[in-house]
């Protein structure tokens, strides 16, 4: 549980610092690290964990970061559904160690998240800027880069979230 909370803080702080440091100025490249993480958490730990982590990370991100839609409370909806769907569809059903699965999961999660975000944004705050024409190319590049990095990101998350063995004392 603590590791999940720490991970949520780490991912959101990383995104906030990336944006504060003017990272978006580089070709509008803005990696959706929290979205990618929620896909992996759902896939590895199940739908409830994905839902809970997505809700927490989304609320945290909405509190810290001025999202492109500008409305408050839409990011947790996107993340909780993506986490839940990821856990429901993939947890225990796919080989999570496979790099192809990790890449496809990232791609599918990314596109679903953007689609759902755009829909909610259209209802509450107007069209999502990321879908406007100048951002389409940078969005495609972001997706490609995140898919390429998916095996590595997955490996890191597996390493962080894997259950630790009980300490039995030193053996000599």
């Amino acid at each position: 549980m603590l590791r999940l909370i720490g991970l949520a803080f780490a991912v959101v702080i990383l995104e906030v610092f990336y944006n504060l440091a003017g990272g978006r100025m580089v070709f509008y490249f803005s990696p959706l690290l929290a979205l990618q993480s929620v896909v992996f958490i759902g896939m590895l730990l199940g739908p409830m964990a994905g839902l809970g982590w997505g809700l927490a990370a989304g609320l945290l991100e909405d509190l810290c970061l001025v999202t492109q839609s500008g409305a408050f409370g839409l990011t947790p909806i996107v993340y909780l559904w993506i986490g839940w769907l990821s856990g429901r569809l993939m947890c225990g059903r796919v080989d999570t160690a496979s790099w192809a699965v990790r890449m496809i999961a990232t791609g599918a999660g990314w596109l679903s998240g953007i689609g759902l975000g755009a829909l909610l944004s259209a209802i509450y705050a107007g069209p999502l800027p990321v879908l406007s024409r100048p951002y389409l190319l940078s969005g495609a590049v972001t997706l490609a880069v995140q898919m390429m990095l998916a095996p590595g990101v997955g490996a890191v998350l597996v390493k962080i979230l894997q259950p630790r063995g009980k300490f039995d004392g030193y053996t000599f």
């Binding site: 409305a71 408050f72 409370g73």
Partner: protein, 284 residues
């Protein structure tokens, strides 16, 4: 399946109600204001202003005032830039006029009979004190100057041209500059005469900006402090009659010496050495 699905559905409904409530608006506004305070960029400012109405009229007016001030600052910055551009243009114009005036003076002077002149800007003085005293370099000209071409400086206090130095042999690998050996350089020496007595001597640089050594003056020289030193007709490099400096000190004579030695303050003003008038012999 059903339990977590209904939980997700319930949370979604709750969050959608929250997103539509005034609380969400206020939260979004506070978040945009905090973001603007941390990162006062124009985009953050626009976001904060867009959400400010959730916080009340005073906040809207505050951001309007901020935007107005930003606009004023931008206009002022534009004016400053324009003023800077204009002053640079005026300075460039004045520099061009100075060069033209110096060129005209050279043409009108006695040097014009035997020499062609060219005014060149100094672009490099070297690194360190010894280089600064010894050399002045100009960008390579389309028609390169010939070795030992004499160079002059316009001496404003007297309104005349004075000797600055000569072009030195080009070291290998020097692609961008042509450098002049200044009269203050320890590698520079020239045959000179005293203006009033006509006595010949050798003037050598000491690597100091304010002192040259005048050697080989006759023992019975009438040289005195304040005497003007000029280039001699015996010089194989310089035209005769160019002012170089004036005597500031005469070394006390010792019994073993065969010649007198004096020290000269050069007219060359190293601190204002920005241009050189280079003399080129008339082509036959």
């Amino acid at each position: 399946m059903k339990k977590d699905f209904y939980l997700a559905l319930g949370l979604t409904v709750f969050l959608m109600i929250l997103a539509g409530s005034s609380l969400a608006g206020r939260l979004a506004a506070w978040r945009a204001v905090a973001w603007y305070l941390v990162n006062p960029a124009p985009t953050a400012m626009a976001q904060a202003q867009r959400h400010a109405y959730h916080l009340g009229e005073s906040w809207e007016k505050l951001f309007e005032a901020r935007r107005y001030l930003d606009t004023l600052e931008k206009i002022q910055a534009g004016r400053d830039l324009e003023n800077l551009r204009q002053s640079l243009a005026i300075e460039e114009d004045s520099r061009r006029r100075t060069i033209e005036a110096e060129s005209q003076k050279t043409v009108a002077g006695s040097l014009a009979d035997k020499w062609q002149t060219q005014v060149v800007e100094i672009v490099y003085r070297g690194i360190g004190e010894s280089d600064w005293v010894s050399q002045a370099c100009v960008s390579k000209q389309p028609a390169a100057f010939k070795f030992y071409a004499p160079a002059l400086q316009f001496y404003r206090p007297r309104g005349e041209f004075i000797l600055a130095g000569r072009l030195r042999p080009e070291p290998a690998g020097q692609f961008f500059y042509q450098c002049f050996e200044l009269v203050t350089s320890p590698r520079h020496a020239a045959a000179v005469i005293l203006a009033t007595t006509g006595e010949a001597a050798l003037l050598a640089g000491l690597g100091r900006p304010d002192r040259l050594r005048l050697s080989y003056l006759p023992l019975d020289s009438k040289a005195a402090v304040g005497e003007r030193v000029m280039t001699s007709a015996a010089s194989s490099v310089y035209p005769p009659g160019l002012a170089v400096g004036e005597i500031v000190e005469i070394e006390p004579l010792r019994s073993s010496q065969l010649f007198k030695t004096a020290y000269v303050r050069p007219y060359l003003d190293l601190a204002r050495l920005e241009r050189l008038v280079v003399l080129k012999p008339e082509e036959f």
